[in-house]
Symmetry: C2
Subunit: 201 residues, 2 copies
Amino acid sequence: MVSNKTIERLIIYKFILQKEIGNGTFIFSHKLAELTNFSPSQVRRDLMAVGYTGNQKNGYNIKELIECIKKFLDQPVPLNIVLVGVGNLGKALLRYYSALRPDYSIVACFDTDESKIGNFIHYSKCYTLADMPDVIKEKEARCGIITVPVDAAQKTADLLIDAGVTGIINFAPLRIKVPDTIYIEHIDLSAIVEKVAYFSR
Amino acid sequence: MVSNKTIERLIIYKFILQKEIGNGTFIFSHKLAELTNFSPSQVRRDLMAVGYTGNQKNGYNIKELIECIKKFLDQPVPLNIVLVGVGNLGKALLRYYSALRPDYSIVACFDTDESKIGNFIHYSKCYTLADMPDVIKEKEARCGIITVPVDAAQKTADLLIDAGVTGIINFAPLRIKVPDTIYIEHIDLSAIVEKVAYFSR
DNA sequence: GCCTGTGAAGCTATTCACAGCT
DNA sequence: AGCTGTGAATAGCTTCACAGGC
């Protein structure tokens, strides 16, 4: 079993390594550490987890390592995502993620505002909440992004889970409760600012 | 010394407690734990850190506890923030944070696009990068939000730090390097999606 | 009986340090 | 000489479990 933190770093290694392909065939753990601001032993530990083994003379083969991490993360591409709450943040995320196609696709979005229903917002069609079960099933979406107002967030999560979503990214400032078969990531933008305020003194 | 994790939770307690003011004068650790999805002993440990002590009969006095956490976090309100990179995400954050006034203010934003300079975007005037040192000094901004393209992010951070910022929130997908007197928080939206993809299977 | 406060235990994550290889 | 792979040590974080109080 690989820890949450290691997965986080593997994703970062993958991304950083992709930009290093042009700079040589091999990379040392201390170089990858420098690029990511982790420690060299941390890097080597993490690579143990994916089972990739380098060589002592040259370090790690960049392309092979990327493939190995990809295989380990085993993303059945593309990941289909839905977004609920097409406000300002929701719209910005729709555009942000539409630029990352085809790795990830927001395949649909939902809102309660009648005037938005049926519109396409950065390639994603907007549906009513009532359509959620059907749309999620049809599009095989596994991940939901919540950008609704705080009072509607828990209800939104419940709807998403009922419709079959197993991963949630919640931008509303509360700790949504989910069964432990569901993975949830909280991104509380106001709490992040407060934290930076505290530690930046 | 109080840990990063504890600070994170204190901020959450503060927020949750503010919504509980109407529901009674006192709150038990297990109730606060339920609202936040942390454990009761975690809650009690964290409150030890701020030095607030409840009573065995009623638990914690909500208003007193909020005041105590606020005092502990010691935010010299308002925190002045600047944002660099007025793209889609930048604009969405400008609007998001302008709604949280007056706790936090984005007092200025910066961009390289000439057509944006001088405009007000959700109460924040847009300046050129060259104005950054003066504006940050004049507005006494201590925190910078980076929403520029990945290739410009490190240079942007360096400029912010030179201008006197001590805390950074970085939305660009790379691990910006900063001196260890500077606090930085990385929010990599594409990495977050990958992580949820991994754990939601 | 049920709460808080907290030492001690348990668990997780990171770093050290070095054997083994080239 | 300088790298990787990894057992062992350390550091950091969370939970247990219970004394003491209402």
